[in-house]
């Protein structure tokens, strides 16, 4: 009897200790207050913008005494790494780099801390950003009357056409093109023109027409969406009814497939953005539909054989795909104030300008229009126009799953494993289900 009383007492003490520990942990995780940070941790994608910012970090560290650690990984590793941190009691990452694919998911899941109070307190002017960028990686829900600002735009990867000027202006090729099509060989204005020029280049030069990125998943979706938007197509209509299997989508698939067969390197069905860039920078392709910041990479003599021979143009057709990253603060970090301090510093005009001068992809209009920036990169004037004309994929809780479904079906079409209508019908049914699951449609 005595023994059982002793055991019960031990159990009570253990339970009390456990409860106290749980309360302490919960306090750490959910506490509204912010602790002082000695270090800030960020998960960053391995792209030029990250390395440009990394070079500037010592300035922030010297000014604040806060060490900033970048964990640099490939894009594909980021989403799962971030989610596991958001689901834990305290996030390892304090400042969050948010792709626009996740700009609907993270705020909807309550994983980001709204920036509204910080903006108000520090009178941070958000009107300096290109409005489309702020809508894409800033506000959530986009276009809703009661929306909050969860992110500040970091950099843009809006897509455009990059092409070889030496080939387009080649007198022999121009003559041949005129003879064959009774039309001028010039920067294409329609998708049909673009596909025709790519096929022509493939047949009449030693290079591929377009360094396409038709690998399954994100690569094929990003590129094909330009064809879809170029033809005025959509993923959803204004009531979140799926439109991915309408006539425009089918036409976009047909043109994309034509280009893959007649105007792309043989292995393009498995390419991602790195493969396309390698082919283009090796001088083995006439063009690529890609991220506008790739132009700076192609103009870098250390990385490219086509320096001085490339130019950028808007995506042929109506619109191109907008893309970009934003800065957010993890809701479950105790270092929110210092996380904001970092965002405020990295998005200040001075730092944003220096990032742009080093080859970054700005989202602030004042940086895109800055005289020094334009003197170094005259095409930024055109980039700003492209940014204002582009639009992102629909942003909601299940954008990543939407991209996955569409990417799978497009890859099946490109591999000739499924006919376009059947594949797009299935994608449409998946998209309708996702909109319903997100509560956006009935």
């Amino acid at each position: 009897m005595k023994r059982s009383t002793k055991s019960a007492a031990v159990a009570r003490v253990a339970l009390l200790a456990l409860a106290a520990l749980s309360l302490a942990l919960a306090g750490c995780a959910k506490g509204g207050g912010s602790k002082k940070a000695t270090e800030l941790n960020l998960l960053m994608e391995d792209v030029p913008e990250t390395h440009i910012i990394a070079k500037l970090l010592p300035e922030f560290e010297k000014a604040t005494g806060i060490k900033v650690n970048f964990e640099i990984v490939q894009y594909g590793d980021m989403h799962s790494k971030l989610i596991t941190q958001f689901m834990s009691a305290q996030s390892k990452y304090d400042v969050i780099e948010v792709d626009n694919y996740w700009a609907g998911e993270f705020p909807a899941a309550n994983w980001l801390y709204p920036l509204t109070d910080y903006l108000k307190k520090d009178k941070f002017d958000t009107s300096v950003y290109v409005p489309q960028m702020l809508d894409m990686v800033g506000y959530y829900p986009v276009n809703a009357p009661k929306r909050a600002l969860y992110m500040l735009p970091m950099y843009n990867y809006t897509m455009a056409l990059i092409y070889r000027t030496d080939l387009l202006n080649d007198a022999g090729l121009q003559k041949k093109y005129k003879e064959k099509f009774n039309a001028e060989l010039k920067v294409p204005e329609t998708l049909e023109d673009y596909v025709r020029i790519c096929s022509f280049m493939q047949q009449n030069t030693k290079v591929a027409g377009s360094a396409m990125q038709a690998g399954r998943g994100d690569p094929v979706v990003m590129e094909w969406t330009n064809y879809l938007f170029g033809l005025g197509g959509e993923y959803y209509d204004e009531n979140w009814a799926s439109r991915i299997n309408d006539e425009r989508s089918l036409k976009a698939v047909q043109l994309y497939r034509d280009n893959l067969v007649h105007g792309a390197p043989k292995g393009a069905a498995s390419y991602n953005l790195d493969d396309s860039l390698r082919v283009m920078s090796a001088g083995d392709a006439f063009s690529m539909i890609t991220y506008n910041w790739m132009l700076a990479q192609l103009e870098d003599p250390a990385k490219s054989k086509v320096v001085g021979k490339v130019a950028i143009a808007p995506m042929p057709g109506a619109q191109s795909l907008a893309g970009g990253w934003g800065w957010g603060i993890a809701k479950n970090t105790p270092y929110k104030d210092d996380a904001w301090r970092f965002i405020k510093w990295v998005e200040s005009f001075d730092v944003a300008k220096r990032r742009a001068l080093d080859g970054g992809a700005p989202t602030r209009s004042d940086v895109l229009r800055d005289a020094d920036v334009l003197a170094k990169y005259p095409y930024y004037a055109l980039v700003e126009q492209i940014l204002t004309k582009s639009k992102p994929v629909p942003e909601f809780q299940f954008s990543a799953q939407m991209v996955e479904s569409v990417g799978r079906e497009l890859s099946l079409i490109m591999a000739e494993n499924k006919d376009p209508k059947t594949a797009l019908d299935l994608a449409a049914s998946d998209l309708a289900e996702l909109a319903k699951k997100a509560g956006l449609s009935k």
């Binding site: 594909g76 989403h79 799962s80 989610i83 958001f86 689901m87 998911e105 909807a108 899941a109 038709a214 690998g215 399954r216 998943g217 390197p265 043989k266 292995g267 393009a268 069905a269 498995s270 390419y271 493969d275 390698r278 082919v279 090796a282 083995d284 809780q397 299940f398 990543a400 799953q401 991209v403 996955e404 799978r408 890859s411 099946l412 490109m414 591999a415 494993n417 499924k418």
Partner: protein, 293 residues
């Protein structure tokens, strides 16, 4: 006597309890948690146990054509890599078990792929087999063979993944089988030699039967590991082109981190667990049948 045995038993439990607690925390709890989750509608967006789903998550998988495709691709993958790795591994282990020069150098070279991370292996082979810039296609064309679209053609992509997996995992087979070969008793071989047995007869009637327990362990371990293969597909093909390399672990990954549906992913994981266990039990039963007789 009985009292002493009880005391020993209690002491044993005291010693083993820290290990059991750690195992319960890191193995049993996650397993139990995911099993419970598979019967609810628990997602990353709404991580709650407020909607009981019964067997819906399991039934949903059965109705999904892409689940069955992943299931088929995984079975083909396992059926190709395990026997091929065994044959190659056993052959090399037999060669290395003989008295040859530079054995250490061979050991070093052959174990290198195994110590590399699958991600690094994936990236290296992705460049080597790059359809348009890779050295393999360049050499094949120089030698008069045609162009092979390794990762862009559904007919080649799974085979390419199989070959890369064999390249990396064959070291595992070699090491386990070699350890078994070097520990075999010498007497039966000497007797066989005196009786005039040739190399093939020795291999079939002496070496292989004596190696059966080691072969069983090696095959079972490789089957289990092969079912969990994920990294190579993730790095190289993302399951494409189409769904030709969409193995089940990658399907589960996508359901978890893109679909954000932990319940669905847990249900598929348990189906994979049951399937793997069933195959392991059948394989174990078949391989050891002869010995039990």
């Amino acid at each position: 006597m009985k009292k002493l045995s009880k005391l020993h038993s209690r002491t044993a439990w005291r010693f083993i309890s820290p290990t059991l607690i750690v195992l319960a925390a890191v193995v049993a709890f996650p397993l139990l948690f995911s099993f419970v989750v598979s019967f609810f509608r628990y997602t990353f967006i709404t991580p709650k146990f407020d909607v009981f789903a019964g067997f819906d998550n399991y039934l949903f998988s059965f109705k999904d054509q892409y689940f069955w495709n992943s299931f088929k691709v995984t079975l083909i993958f396992v059926a190709l890599v395990v026997p091929l790795e065994f044959l190659v591994g056993y052959g090399i282990a037999l060669l290395l078990s003989r008295d040859i020069k530079f054995k250490t150098v061979f050991y070093f070279i052959l174990t290198m792929p195994m110590v590399m991370s699958p991600v690094a292996v994936g990236l290296i082979w992705k460049m080597l087999l790059h359809p348009d810039l890779g050295i393999v296609n360049y050499l094949l064309q120089k030698m008069g063979f045609g162009y092979v679209n390794w990762f862009g053609d559904p007919r080649w992509a799974l085979l390419a993944i199989v070959l890369i997996d064999i390249w990396q995992q064959v070291s595992f087979m070699i090491l386990i089988l070699l350890a078994g070969l070097t520990s075999l008793s010498k007497e039966p071989f000497e007797s066989a030699k005196i009786d005039g047995a040739g190399p093939l007869q020795t291999l079939l009637y002496i070496t292989t039967p004596m190696m059966l327990p080691v072969i069983t362990v090696a095959l079972l371990m490789r089957v289990i590991i092969a079912f969990k293969t994920y990294d190579l597909v993730y790095i190289i093909t993302s399951g494409g082109p189409g769904v030709s390399t969409d193995i089940i672990s990658y399907y589960i990954y996508r359901t978890t981190f893109m679909g954000l549906d932990l319940s669905q992913a847990s249900a598929i994981s348990f189906l994979l667990f049951v399937l793997t266990m069933a195959i392991v039990v059948v394989l174990f039963h078949q391989i050891t049948k002869e010995k039990r007789r």
